[in-house]
Subunit: 398 residues, 2 copies
């Protein structure tokens, strides 16, 4: 905070979809609140009165929101913006918050603008600050400690189990006209497979809040195509299976495998080999102190050398390698560090970083796409550890 | 928009945890984007190039974000805030957006403040606007049409099935020393029950992103206590079971029942009766044109007459009726209309409103709490329809 010239930081909102607040609350099962952290002092959690039991689990110093009597303020002020300013005035007066105050945590953007503008204009001792990139808590979140790594390893183990069990589920089906069919003779569809994946997750108390990708054939050639519910599962087509689940409110894992049932066209075999080797080339380039954008450059150079178009050569290409080589992983699926190859990206790789390495090659016009994604952790000694203990094999024998 | 003096509205961000964006995108499975809606014109969706397939499902006019070449802007500008301002400048220039422009959708609050301030200061033709309460899209979302009601009824049916199956699951257990035990003789715990609930949800392709409440005894006496994982399930204690799931990305349902296994203490029976009758008293007060805050007043008056403390009499009470009588329900668990009994709440009940009615009485010191929650829809004819076809019975026979 000193480096950023901040005297205090305020993190507010609902916990749902708000990983910075979840991070500060140490995973306690509360739905909302305000954390106030003054430089050099312990954080204070202002919690809802009806969540006083759960608030204890945060381990933070607690203040019951009832103390500020927001309902009475609302009765006096009649205007919600004014009332909210008055609420913050009371909180800041009691906790002696003043000077440069950074605000964090998600909110409706128009609401946040009006409230922070009003606080900046109304409270004489407070100068409102925000951060556009790599904010205070993004940096805190981006390096994981041993406890966090242990949790991520557990989610890794369960995610890999689900992916393996999904392949077993596919293999249990009969084949008819190059298509998997269920016991009643109807084709197995992408929708049915996803339903099975959700069940496998639920059995492990995991959830999939952002939606699994299970895309076949041409859809596999569009990186974020989720797969069409009614598509049948056909042999010899690339299936991109990208799963990014978590324990409720906890850390995410993220893994992608691409496979073909029964056999693969030779063209796909070559592309698969290129992607698989690219994963390794990128992991080999991981080193403490290296610029994060370097990994994107390594992947693009690798693919261009093998004759594939990339966004380095043509930012608008929809064929070849068309996305980022990876992203930080933690309480959000996408967090720091970021790997975009732009001059403003001065991030360097550090011990404690956990991120995906996920090159892919996409040829939607030719009806296929391949992505392979592992998760790498840079350990305390600065060594790149692959957290994804799952083989990479193109063909699933039936 | 005319009423609010808005020339255009911009809704942006990730779809995850961003119901207004989800609403405008008609449930398409995209992860992010920007919707620009000019007054009197069709909405435009600016989507990620790698989500071009999913974007089609929005039914909106599409623009591929690749067109604005954000990566090249980032390369030129070096500063992400400046680059983002330039991105919006290009979008607004092409779509001829100017005048009073409202911004919506979730974002980090500090980031949103800096970006909107910069847009307001930098773009000469644009005046940045936000809304603190009951914004443009909150109002659009708060009345549900027939398609939305049909979806909510389907989620209602599945939610009720899960709640009934949960009770069946409890009843399948043996009793030992007034406690439910599993086949291996160990006590059935709250954690095990929740695991079973998640499985029942997964089998129906439902998810529970905000966490089920299954709280027993003293914990049932604290409204948002989620229940402790290791607590055993004992006979004769109140169990508050509050389930608010959805289909992924879809509409929520929300239902609470309180029950005791085997028998209930007479004191609890009386409190249960009071809560059950209060639900009906509140539903009886539902009428088109009535002020929403009136329902809160009805519940408080009802309970006070029966000798229970309420937040109307003492805003800080932790005993008796301590929360809001309900909330609007839709793509978010909590949305418009709001029922708080404050002067600024001038909302009136309207056809198409869907909201919970959930009075409760809490006596944590005495080791119990009771809440009962139904969902009410005001139909096209202005009639209150109860969407919760689930009996209210205190005692579950074993």
């Amino acid at each position: 905070m000193e480096e950023r010239g901040l005297d205090a930081a305020v993190v507010a909102g609902h916990t749902y979809g708000n990983p910075t607040l979840v991070y500060l609350l140490n995973g306690a099962e509360v739905s909302q609140g305000i954390v106030v952290k003054k430089r050099g002092e312990e954080a204070v959690f202002i919690h809802s009165p009806i969540e006083r039991d759960e608030a204890v689990a945060t381990g933070l110093r607690l203040v019951n929101m009832a103390k500020y009597d927001f309902v009475s303020i609302l009765r006096e002020k009649e205007d919600r913006l004014e009332a909210t300013v008055e609420l913050y005035r009371r909180i800041f007066a009691e906790l002696e918050v003043r000077g440069e105050v950074g605000f964090y945590g998600i909110a409706d953007r128009g609401q946040a603008y009006l409230l922070l503008k009003a606080l900046d204009e109304t409270l004489p001792d407070v100068h409102v600050r925000g951060e556009v990139e790599r904010g205070l808590f993004d940096v805190a979140r981006e390096t994981k400690d041993a406890t966090e790594i242990a949790q991520m390893q557990e989610v890794a183990r369960l995610t890999i189990e689900v992916m393996q069990d999904t392949v077993q589920f596919l293999r249990q089906h009969r084949i008819q006209d190059e298509t998997l069919v269920t016991d009643d003779g109807s084709p197995l569809t992408v929708g049915r497979v996803k339903q099975h994946i959700l069940r496998l997750l639920a059995e492990r108390r995991m959830e999939d809040p952002e939606g699994v990708i299970f895309a076949i054939g041409r859809d596999a050639g569009v990186p974020h195509s989720k797969g069409r519910t009614n598509d049948p599962i056909r042999l010899g087509q690339t299936i991109v299976y990208d799963l990014f689940p978590r324990r409720p409110g906890g850390y995410f894992f993220d893994c992608t495998r691409t496979f073909c049932l029964g056999y693969a066209p030779p063209e796909v075999e070559q592309v698969y080999q290129d992607v698989k080797e690219c994963v390794q080339a990128v992991i080999d380039a991981v080193e403490v102190g290296v610029e994060a954008r370097r990994l994107q450059q390594v992947a693009c150079a690798f693919f261009e050398e093998r004759g594939h178009p990339t966004i380095a050569g043509d930012p608008k290409t929809e064929e070849g390698f068309v996305h980022s080589v990876g992203h930080g992983l933690g309480l959000a699926v996408h967090e720091e560090p970021a790997f975009s190859d732009v001059p403003s990206n001065t991030r360097t790789l550090q011990p404690g970083h956990v991120f995906t390495v996920e090159p892919g090659l996409y040829y939607p016009e030719r009806g296929y796409g391949v992505r392979i994604e592992d998760v790498v952790w840079i350990d305390e000694a600065g060594k790149a550890q692959n957290l994804t203990e799952l083989p990479k094999e193109l063909i699933v024998e039936l």
